[in-house]
């Protein structure tokens, strides 16, 4: 039986079915006579297998629909010509713009908005702006539960003051078990308020919040934005790359299949220097590049990522002392592609936004849009 099927599949053709029998010709051996009914069963079985294979393969290889996007995390929303070109050529239609932070104001004894965005240009009219609000944990920790709805009201008023037409609002908060209740209430309130305006609510999700979602809870929002970065302890001098170390990140790839929210993904394309003084992390130096530390009078490159200060100097607005150490953290194209391949099978929703953090002249210089399109392709599952 097995042999006959092999013949059928490799060499033979069903010639005819006569008087309840089918004659099978094959090229290497004599013909077999097989009862038609048996052939039908075999044929059906093969067809079934083929169908299953087709269906399964279509499940795995079906391309995801990906909307590329960027985060804009600066206070001045003023796009440079190179940024504008970059967005146009990509093309990018969606920008997550940090509208303001919400932080605890001890003097006022309540959370206040900080670092409100200033729209210095009107270039954003061609792209969809998603207001993104970062809320510090201490704002929630210190504020009583019964006033959380007031906070939600204030946040919404401020957002709508800054922009009238909105299709989505994103809230960014690395909530903890102690702030979960208040945070989720805030989200519930905002969601309820904006539902009538048909505005979607999304929230950022950290990796650990998926792995331990039963403990950390699932935010009551329409979608989650998985922030696939800041995976390791930035303060630890022994950390290799706190922004994205795939070996560390892999330890958190758990429970994606059980996670009840549709997920979008944010990938890092920024770089920074982590300044250590006497073994203690002092400061994060945004946008730092190796070429900023090329002057050997002041900097001694110890290895690929570590630079020692030979002589005290100013660097990007910060005064560095002799013997300080900077750990340079950047993300390579290869790491981003590997990340896309790692995450692609984990995200079950077929439509998602892939957002890059974040838009500025330095990051786009280091990550040409063609490179980022490769990452999108990798994410699609090609």
């Amino acid at each position: 039986m097995k042999m006959n099927i092999e013949y059928r599949t490799r060499n033979a053709d069903a010639k005819e079915c006569r008087s309840g029998r089918i004659i099978v010709n094959h090229r290497y051996s004599k013909n077999f006579l097989i009862p038609c009914s048996l052939f039908d069963i075999r044929y059906s079985f093969c067809l079934f297998i083929v169908c299953i294979l087709f269906l399964t393969s279509s499940c795995t290889s079906k391309e995801k629909t990906i909307t590329p996007a960027f985060y804009h995390w600066q206070t001045n929303f003023s796009l440079t010509p190179s940024e504008k070109d970059y967005l146009q050529e990509f093309p990018i239609q969606k920008l997550y713009v940090k509208f303001f932070d919400v932080d605890w104001n001890a003097a006022a004894n309540q959370p206040f908005p900080m670092a409100e965005v200033i729209f210095d240009s009107t270039d954003w009219k061609n792209v969809e702006i998603i207001p993104t609000i970062f809320i510090t944990n201490r704002s929630l920790k210190n504020y009583p539960l019964e006033k959380i709805n007031d906070l939600g009201k204030n946040i919404l008023e401020k957002i709508f003051y800054l922009k009238k037409e909105i299709s989505e609002i994103q809230i960014d908060c690395d909530w903890s078990e102690t702030t979960k209740e208040k945070y989720f209430q805030l989200l519930n309130f905002i969601k309820k308020e904006i539902a009538q305006k048909e505005i979607q609510l999304s929230a950022t999700i950290r990796l650990h919040q998926i792995k331990y979602f039963e403990r950390t809870g699932v935010p009551p929002v329409d979608r989650g934005m998985l922030m696939f970065y800041n995976v390791d302890d930035v303060k630890d001098p022994a950390t290799k790359n706190s922004i994205l170390d795939l070996e560390i990140a892999k330890q958190y790839i758990y429970n994606f299949e059980k996670y009840p929210l549709n997920l979008d993904v944010a990938l890092p394309i920024f770089s920074w220097g982590v300044l250590f003084r006497g073994g203690k992390m002092i400061k994060l130096m945004a946008h730092l590049q190796a070429e900023d530390m090329a002057d050997t009078n002041f900097f001694l490159q110890k290895d690929k990522t570590h630079f020692q200060i030979k002589k005290s100097t100013y660097l990007n607005g910060r005064y560095l002392y002799e013997d300080d150490v900077i750990r340079l953290e950047t993300i390579s194209q290869n790491t981003l592609v590997q990340t896309a391949k790692l995450l692609q099978p984990q995200i079950s929703n077929s439509e998602l936004t892939l957002s890059f953090y974040h838009l500025d002249t330095t990051t786009i210089k280091n990550h040409p849009y063609e490179n980022l399109q490769d990452i999108i392709q990798a994410f699609k599952g090609d």
Binding site: P113, E157, R277, G278, G279, I282, Y314, G317, E322
Partner: protein
């Protein structure tokens, strides 16, 4: 906590169990049985809870009580809930620097003498600004009016109030607004017809809505057009005004409006136009104006010029110092060089280094060297010196014995890895200053040198330095003298070594008793305790090490034979050091020896060394033994009652109990045919001397009723009194052993029934201790026992149900009634 537990229990009583669906409840023989199998995944033994219906399930009887309790709870002081809030992480180290050794009136003293400085609140800055402004108005009016009067006119009065004041100037019949009635400053403005000032005040108040900082959630309502109109109006008024002081204030209002209207070039233009037309005496307003010019320069990318202006403001204007420091920004070495070239004097250059030295985590010795080079007498040098030493104290002071060292490293990253190298750098600079003798307060630098030597661990050299300074220190330098003596005391404590002799300990005792600095400097007690704790542990004096940190009560909770023996040795010493006296002193006349002997006896008894325990108890003086609890553990109790009064007239102290135990032991072994009764009594004794019995005090010195609900096989429980925890005497092994022997030997069925019942109780207690048990005894619910723990209850029911004791037990014991 107890209140919380009881409250929780009551709420549970009325809410949780009552809301269970009917299918989970069953009423049988006066009991309600709650079947929790469908609701919980807890062990099979605890899935049913049986409650005596009459006692608990009457909601009406519980409800008023619960409400009363909740009301009582709400009436409790707020402080209770405050204690449960989050706590702030605090660095746990020592500091012996006296801030008075530097000039506390120095310009930046308030900033440099604190860590995390330069963070006054917005409100406090507003207050400083208002006070400075009022002071200046006061000076302009020859200090004729009180700050309150000036404040009312300048800050509290509205534009309409001031307009009415202007009307009063023109029309004598017009009245002043209520707010300004009786205000001498307002009267002066009216009587002297100070229309320029009045008009300026009206203009300033009309500017206010355009320039106040946006507050919190309010959305900004700046009307640029209106602001520009105000600028034009202000300019007109400026040129009309004769008083140059009032002109200066107009200039400030106009420039501020232009800045906030984001007309940065216009701001600079207005500044150049107006300021040169003002010839007033130096004023704080000059710096306020400068701040707006600097802001405009920054926005136009002229960062170096802006930073230069900010440095001038930082140096000269306290009310704007905070914002000037935050706005000062230099991007690279080239900008720094340009900035230095803009400075007009070495003092200004020194200020730039001072600002740089004040950033978080700076290594200020580099800036101090530059300040010293530019201006050796700069007052900030001393402040920076003290600030840097304070940081090094965190790194190095007591680092060998600080018991919070790991915590500090984890939370604050102290000690810094290169603290030693940094100390050497600072010390080198201090030496240079001492040698060149150009600094202001040379003695301070000498003391600092000695203190740094001490922090560096060279105690011998530090001692020599301190002694040398002490001999030459002028008598009028009291603060410095005190600092020197404090440093010497810290050094003396640090120098204590492992072989402390009698004289050393005497001296320590004297320090605690007599040295005023020991109590004035709040870190000394901790510092001494940590050091001595380390010394005693290294020299294996466990008793002393223990007593340094714990009261005797902690030992009662968790007795340790080595500690007890060590302390007993001290008690027995003929000549004790001052420190030893402190360790073993109980009250004015007595020592803790009797307590220690009691603890030792109890420990021995619990370790089955009965004869040795007896001998130990007998060493306790008769007087103290008379204070021992009088108990009778040999009786059976159907229901355990820890605090019930004793019905017996026959009671024993610990010696008596042990004597009786030995006697019964002998009886039991010598007369096996009648031994069952003796063994039964021994079982009772060992049962009643556990945590569950009324004679627990015979074998323990501390018992917490709260621990029952946390019962576990390890038997160690949390207590706030000691990190060692509290050991409870919950094990049933010994009682069980004697009861089992008694049951085996019993010829009398009644005695066998009693023994069997007591064994069932042992099983029940063991069930509480089982790590898988989730039963909470505070619920007053009767647990269904799993098979492993139910053997003797079943046997009691099947074998002994015809005995008198059975009837008696059934009557008394609700548990038994529920089970059978």
């Amino acid at each position: 906590m107890r209140i919380f537990k009881i409250l929780f229990r009551l709420l549970k009583e009325i809410n949780f169990l009552q809301i269970l669906p009917n299918k989970n409840r069953k009423r049988e023989n006066g009991f309600t049985i709650y079947d929790l199998r469908s609701l919980s995944n807890i062990g099979d033994g605890a899935i049913k809870i049986i409650r005596q219906t009459s006692q608990f399930s009457n909601r009406k009887s519980v409800l008023p009580f619960s409400i009363l309790f909740i009301l009582l709870f709400l009436a409790l002081p707020y402080q209770i809930s405050k204690g449960c809030g989050p706590f702030e992480l605090k660095f746990e180290g020592y500091s012996f620097l006296n801030p008075k050794i530097v000039n506390t009136n120095a310009t930046y003293a308030q900033y440099f003498l604190r860590f995390n400085d330069l963070i006054p609140t917005y409100d406090s800055l507003q207050i400083i600004q208002q006070d400075e402004n009022i002071r200046e108005w006061s000076e302009r009016f020859c200090k004729m009016y009180t700050p309150k009067e000036l404040k009312t006119v300048i800050y509290k009065a509205t534009a309409n109030d001031i307009k009415r004041l202007r009307n009063a100037v023109k029309d004598k019949k017009a009245t002043l607004p209520v707010r300004l009635n009786g205000n001498a400053f307002a009267d002066h403005l009216r009587d002297e017809k100070c229309l320029e000032v009045i008009n300026y005040l009206i203009f300033a108040k009309q500017c206010e809505p355009h320039v106040v900082a946006e507050d919190g959630w309010s959305t900004p309502k700046r009307d640029i057009e209106a602001m520009q109109k105000m600028v034009a109006r202000g300019k007109k008024a400026f040129y009309k005004t004769e008083s140059h002081y009032v002109r200066l204030r107009y200039a400030y209002q106009i420039i501020r409006l232009a800045h906030y209207a984001k007309g940065y070039k216009a701001t600079l233009k207005l500044h150049d136009e107006l300021v040169r037309k003002v010839h007033a005496n130096p004023s704080l307003i000059d710096y306020w104006i400068m701040g707006h010019k600097a802001g405009a320069l920054r926005k136009l990318g002229r960062n170096v010029e802006a930073s230069y202006l900010y440095s001038l403001i930082f140096e000269n204007c306290p009310s704007k110092r905070q914002s000037a420091f935050q706005s000062f920004y230099i991007k690279n070495n080239e900008q720094w060089k340009e900035l230095m070239l803009l400075c007009k004097s070495d003092k200004e250059r020194a200020t730039l280094f001072t600002i740089r030295a004040n950033t978080d985590d700076s290594r200020a010795v580099e800036e101090m060297e530059q300040i010293y080079r530019l201006e050796p007498t700069n007052e900030n040098l001393e402040l920076l010196l003290v600030k840097e030493i304070t940081k090094l104290e965190r790194d190095l002071l007591g680092i060998d014995f600080n018991d919070n060292k790991k915590r500090n490293q984890r939370n604050f990253k102290f000690p810094r890895k290169d603290a030693g190298i940094y100390l050497t750098k600072l010390k080198k600079f201090v030496k240079k200053c001492i040698n060149e003798k150009e600094v202001n307060n040379l003695d301070l630098w000498k003391v600092a040198d000695g203190y740094l030597t001490f922090l560096g661990g060279d105690y011998y050299e530090a001692d020599l330095t301190f002694k040398k300074i002490a001999n030459n220190l002028p008598t009028d330098k009291k603060e410095l003298k005190e600092q020197l003596e404090v440093a010497q005391l810290a050094l003396k404590i640090a120098q204590l070594d492992d072989d402390l002799g009698l004289s050393d300990e005497n001296e320590i005792g004297n320090i605690i008793k007599e040295n005023p600095y020991y109590w004035d400097y709040k870190d000394f007690p901790d510092y001494l305790n940590d050091k001595l704790g380390d010394v005693f542990l290294k020299s294996k004096q466990k008793g002393k090490a223990f007593r340094l940190k714990h009261p005797l009560e902690a030992l009662k909770m968790n007795p340790d034979l080595e500690i007890i023996e060590d302390l007993l040795k001290i008690c027995d010493k003929d000549i004790k050091s001052n420190l030893e006296e402190v360790f073993v002193k109980k009250d004015g006349l007595t020592t803790i020896k009797s307590d220690l002997l009691t603890l030792k006896g109890i420990e021995m008894f619990n370790n089955d060394k009965i004869e040795a325990a007896l001998e130990t108890f007998r060493k306790i003086p008769r007087n103290d033994r008379d204070n021992d609890p009088k108990l009778n553990p040999f009786h059976e109790h159907i229901i355990d009652c820890v605090h019930c009064p004793l019905a017996d007239t026959l009671v024993y102290d610990r010696v008596g109990i042990l004597d009786e135990i030995l006697k019964l032991e002998y009886q039991g072994r010598a007369h096996l045919e009648t031994g069952a009764s003796a063994f039964y009594q021994l079982g009772n004794a060992y049962y009643n001397m556990t945590y569950f019995g009324d004679s627990w005090r015979a074998a323990d010195m501390f018992r917490s009723g709260a621990n029952w609900q946390y019962a576990n096989p390890e038997n160690r429980y949390f207590t706030t009194a000691s990190e060692l925890g509290n050991i409870e005497n919950m094990k049933m092994d010994k009682a069980r052993k004697y009861y089992e022997t008694a049951l085996e030997l019993a010829r009398d069925k009644e005695l066998a029934a009693r023994t069997c019942f007591m064994l069932a109780k042992c099983d029940l207690n063991d069930f509480y201790m089982d790590k898988n048990t989730r039963y909470n005894p505070y619920n007053n619910e009767i647990p269904i026992l799993p098979e492993t723990y139910n053997k003797y209850y079943l046997r009691f029911n099947t074998e002994f149900n015809d005995t008198e004791f059975y009837k008696e037990a059934i009557e008394e014991c609700l548990f038994l009634k529920a089970y059978l």
